[in-house]
Subunit: 424 residues, 2 copies
Amino acid sequence: MIKANDPNRRSWIKVDEGSDFPIQNIPFGVFIPEDDIITTGTRIGDTAIDLSAMQQLGYFKDIEISDDVFLQDTLNDFIALGRGINRQVRDRIAKIFDENNAELRDNEEHKARILFPADKVQMLMPIFSQDYTDFYSSREHATNVGTMFRDPDNALLPNWLHLPVGYHGRSSTIVISGEPIHRPMGQRKPKDADKPVFGPSVRVDFELEMAFITGEGKAMGQRISTEEAEEYIFGMVLFNDWSARDLQTWEYVPLGPFLAKNFGSSISPWVVTMDALEPYRCEGPKQEVEVLDYLKTEKDGAFDINISVAIQPEDQEETVVSNSNFKYMYWSMAQQLAHHTVNGCKINPGDLMGSGTISGPTPDSYGSMLELAWNATKPIPMNGGGERTFIEDNDTVIMRGYCNNGTTRIGFGEVSCKILPAIE
Amino acid sequence: MIKANDPNRRSWIKVDEGSDFPIQNIPFGVFIPEDDIITTGTRIGDTAIDLSAMQQLGYFKDIEISDDVFLQDTLNDFIALGRGINRQVRDRIAKIFDENNAELRDNEEHKARILFPADKVQMLMPIFSQDYTDFYSSREHATNVGTMFRDPDNALLPNWLHLPVGYHGRSSTIVISGEPIHRPMGQRKPKDADKPVFGPSVRVDFELEMAFITGEGKAMGQRISTEEAEEYIFGMVLFNDWSARDLQTWEYVPLGPFLAKNFGSSISPWVVTMDALEPYRCEGPKQEVEVLDYLKTEKDGAFDINISVAIQPEDQEETVVSNSNFKYMYWSMAQQLAHHTVNGCKINPGDLMGSGTISGPTPDSYGSMLELAWNATKPIPMNGGGERTFIEDNDTVIMRGYCNNGTTRIGFGEVSCKILPAIE
């Protein structure tokens, strides 16, 4: 077992019941503490932990990492070291913060340099992603979209069961939770109009996704097999792949979505490691069509992660509009990464790979407003009054995720983003 | 007029008749000279010029650039300074190398530090592109592809005349001229087969493109108008957007090309500035459908650049298979960049934006083997014997480009890439 995952361990840092961040989580992020120097950090309960300060004070001294690895603007240098080193650091953190370890617990001077209230630090983008890929791996989502826009009897396209469909996204507009995004302007073609019109999108939608972040990279010309794929994945985040449905419908043939997606995507700030997620590994959907050898897997590739979406209109309480689960993904991350590299495509540390919208089997588990309100035919009532078919100006969309196997609960925190009015 | 473009200027460096690099060009690139330190450079005739050495020796002393701007691994820091500063540097280079200027010409010690034979330096990737976008802006190409694979009577899709269709590509596999690329492995579905097979692509193709490189960036949420767009473009390169047609046909619905493209793309090493291209500005194709206001332009947005493709089979002479021109593009770079940012998409310095395959009006000006050999129905004979419908193992594809307005000729050199056998 990975030492840091020991379900019996408790920390000397207070952790509230139901917290996403018990000592069994130990995610990684980047923040600015009160004293204004960017650092890599982790979190236990409501306490943010400065890893560069810990290193300077000697807590990682026999682990092979450079002196400035936690002083970078992003996690990239750290995660490029690979899962072995990342695991040593995580295990060490678990040991230092164990309730029975007095080393830091009883050193007030060190604690003052290392610990900060989580709500007093500014979280930053944890990674630099040169490339961002988005998959389309939820069968229910692909079926719903195919049913609405193409043919209910042939909702899935012929390739869908044979390969994890994916496409390239725009890295430059991925932002951290809390950063607002303006409603995009663009072209759309109203039904029955003979030409397009220009204006703010009238169908801004979220997409409930999770994304994995690559750790060690792989050179151009080489492949990553399904068997070794998870060794190349550092961890996961919640991911909201904002979409403008009206722009998308008009622009996307024949080369895929472009401006309908690249106005912004939002990620949660704490990267939960694949090591932390290991206890929640589970069986995924049975793949009904036999896949080609390079996509076959031996072990279960799904993870039981509860994910939800809430909409909070301006000055109102929030309404949870979807409860889904990452385990519904038809294609596993290992299959996605093996497919992505089967042609020799180079992978860099910090690449972001989105799951695609995660829709579950029931209408209350769909992962987008397009599906939840079924192409604007079934408005969703808001608890505080009003209803929604898509996202309106000044609405905040909040996605949350957590795992609970009955013994231990860990979570991702949230990714929250407010849609501001378009700049016309 | 831009000073460096003076057609009457001659350099004290020898420039052969028909060279791509007279003193009116002054492109920028990155290379390792004989002494092994990476530097930004330019080129006149067959001489590579070390700009970091020139700066150290005081030749740029009253221009506002940092001491290490030419000592970076890429041009990004330099081009981020914007076209004003870039122009001052280019004008200064033109002045220093003018045949009547003795300052460097007669200083043998300085010349020994600054000048290198172009064939003795190693050219490197000139830019770091976080994001790479590929457009689809040649009407002839889009029409040819639509005719072959969809419907000859409705070859262009409904959006094509209203917006410059584009999609995101993979940055991690863009390589410099001279780097070989392996034939990709992947899934394809043979005609009449009921399921896909796995193996090396059997339809590897080039795409004759040019790409522009953004200079100064633009923040998220802001737009770049057509009027100001060229101020955000640093320069252009030749671009071969390698494509595996059999993988593409199977994978591309509904989200666009993915593994069929991201096994590799090749660029030429010298970035020719928009300033150098100014004398070759010309009228583009008339846009027959009135475009929305944000895509309207006042001045001519096309550039008269002759471009060609040659195939050189292993141990054979080359065969020129296409002669086209960048001026055939239906959508201008200014329109492409205005469209790309109309939704607030963030632009970074060094972003690469491909034109899409540039096909001219006649069959000998098509920009891909798919079109030249018309879906493998019209094989192209090779001068040294044999014929080609697509690219075979160990074939080298060479693209060249130049401008000639009768007064001055400048060029791009070439982008050359050999396709190696697949790694099975």
